[in-house]
């Protein structure tokens, strides 16, 4: 993600900068330490007086820096897929949320595989909230989630889970797993000879290039849905990849949805600045709220003024031999989940993350 951000900045500066000024990146290595996140957010806002902050991987880190940046009136872009619900005029989120991709995945699962689903999720807010969405979407389509299991992020032994899944005999499995440990789920699932017998869809698989560690047998057939996939067949994407590979080398790992989301985030901010004609925070926010649109490698991405989340294409795809084959494209999906609770046009002073009650 950091490479993508720097890449975007590099391209921008090569083209003459922004408003005639060079864009400079001040970066901090937070080592995923929450205390450092808070400290560096303050430093960025007060010492370096930056125009915008891009960053924060987990929801926990976002919720730490969000109030800090709000307090010091520094614009903040959050670019990871997350559970949805952040409603803050100072924050723009361009990652996928359950409203974007989970509905697409559940729809595919119920229609092509059958009614009975089984959910495996990471035991924290992203997993918990997303699994609620899976239940809701499945029910709306006449399906049912017959089992849900939560795992600690470092869980590595899925043996008893695999037995339980076999006993429950679901038509499909949906994984909302996060971190390095869950790779072992796909591995153990295949080792038990179940790959291909019970189909798997995932809201997270591939975002960390999991398919590169696994063998094709272990990852073939897993269905995912993202805004960006490296295998999108468009001219804009091909050109982007050629430039990106020229800079980082041909053996750079596949560009993921997360990486692209950092790139797009910077383009969106730049578009806002250009429109506002200044880097002044309030004016840039107003410009972004006018429904700014950029055309990137993942297609058209525009900001939804009501929620400060994004409207973009979602591609449903299936893994085959470590690559994705796109099955279907759902154009211009809106952040329908966050929109249920958040209206920044009506309540511009809102600055919290809503836990959307999924009923």
């Amino acid at each position: 993600m950091f490479d993508a951000l720097n890449f975007a900045v590099g391209e921008m500066n090569a083209a003459g900068g922004l408003l005639g000024r060079e864009v400079k990146v001040v970066s901090f290595d937070t080592q995923s330490n929450m205390q450092l996140y808070a400290q560096y957010a303050q430093e960025a806002a007060l010492k370096h007086k930056v125009a915008v902050v891009h960053g924060g991987i987990t929801s926990a880190s976002r919720e730490i820096i969000r109030p800090v940046l709000g307090k010091y009136k520094t614009l903040y872009f959050y670019e990871t897929p997350y559970e949805g619900g952040v409603c803050d005029r100072n924050v723009f989120a361009d990652g996928t949320t359950p409203g974007h991709n989970t509905e697409v995945l559940v729809d595919h699962a119920v229609k092509t595989w059958g009614k009975k689903g089984y959910v495996l999720a990471a035991d924290y807010n992203y997993g918990q909230i997303t699994s609620e969405w899976v239940k809701k979407y499945a029910k709306e389509r006449g399906g049912d989630v017959i089992g849900t299991e939560f795992f600690p992020i470092d869980a590595t032994n899925f043996g008893s889970t695999i037995s339980k899944i076999q006993a429950a005999k679901p038509d499909w499995i949906l994984t909302v797993l996060v971190g390095g440990g869950p790779i072992s789920f796909y591995r153990q699932f295949n080792a038990a000879g179940l790959s291909g017998k019970i189909p798997i869809a995932s809201t997270t698989f591939g975002a960390g290039n999991e398919q590169m560690v696994l063998t094709p047998e272990e990852s073939n057939g897993i269905v995912v849905a993202y805004n960006y996939l490296q295998d999108i067949d468009s001219l804009a994407n091909k050109e982007f990849l050629t430039r990106f590979r020229a800079k980082f080398g041909a053996d750079y790992p596949p560009v993921t949805d997360l990486t692209m989301s950092s790139y797009i985030g910077l383009l969106l901010w730049a578009a806002g600045v250009k429109k506002a004609g200044t880097i002044d925070r309030d004016k840039v926010i107003e410009a972004l709220e006018s429904g700014i649109t950029v055309d990137g490698p993942s297609g058209k991405v525009s900001i939804d003024p009501q929620t400060h989340h994004c409207i973009f294409d979602v591609h449903l795809a299936k893994f085959k031999d470590k690559k994705t084959v796109i099955l279907n494209t759902f154009p211009q999906r809106k952040p329908i989940d966050t929109a249920m609770v958040c209206d920044l046009k009506k309540n511009p002073r809102d600055a919290k993350q809503y836990v959307i009650s999924v009923k």
Binding site: P152, T156, N157, S163, Q166, Q188, G193
Partner: protein
Amino acid sequence: MDLAILVGIDFVNGVATLALMSIGLAVVFGMMRIINLAHGEFMVMGSYSAAVAYHHNVNIWVAILIVPPIAVAVIGAIIERVIIRRLYGRMVETMLATWGLSLFIVGILTTIFGSHTEGVPAPLSGIKVGNYQTSGYSLFVILMSVVTIVGVYVVLRATRLGLLARGTMQNAEMAAALGVDTSRIYATTFAFGAGLAGLAGGILAPISGVFPSIGGSYIGRAFITVIGGGPAPLVGTVTASAMFGFVNQLATFLSNPVYGEVALLVAAVILIRLLPNGITGRYFRRAL
């Protein structure tokens, strides 16, 4: 019936995994009274050595069974010479030193391999149990766990090295007076324990992903097992693994893995409250 067999395999596998994780730590702690907080990282180094060997086209069985114990035993011997040797008999200092060491190893591994997940594919395919499927590899883990424990027993009981080691641990001065090079025995024992940790890391590499910080998820369970087991390294590890593994799997099966971990910890707290010296502090006291 088929399902019962399947679940039975899961239970035995849970116990075997726990025993495999703990045996190296148990040998070092039980014999040398050294609390090695870097045990988890020793396992991770074993996993990485297996992954590296595998990616260099070494035969998969050699990569998970031969390379890791040798690699980690060598590293263990070096660490013993540089750090541990200076701290014998000073438990708190060894804990601090090995904790520092664990952070250092995580840092080094992150620098070399990055913080993403490496992996080794499981070499055995699934096997059928009636209408169900289970992993052939989990049977292999069970087998290897038994072989390892029997192997440790044979080394300690039937070889001259094992005899010298046990003698040195019981009374180092007497052993030295009888002409045993005790510092070499200590070094060998530590390297042996490290090698066992490496072997466990190698065997578990195809099951769990390999990434620098995964040691943290091993060390807690290994420690609880060793402390719960008490002073006798072998019998203690086997009995404590059987008990904690069973409780963990039962709770996991009835609810989910989060409660499985909780149940394991609760069982450990109750056990230590009732038997402060561990299982072998009370029962099987003369066992190995």
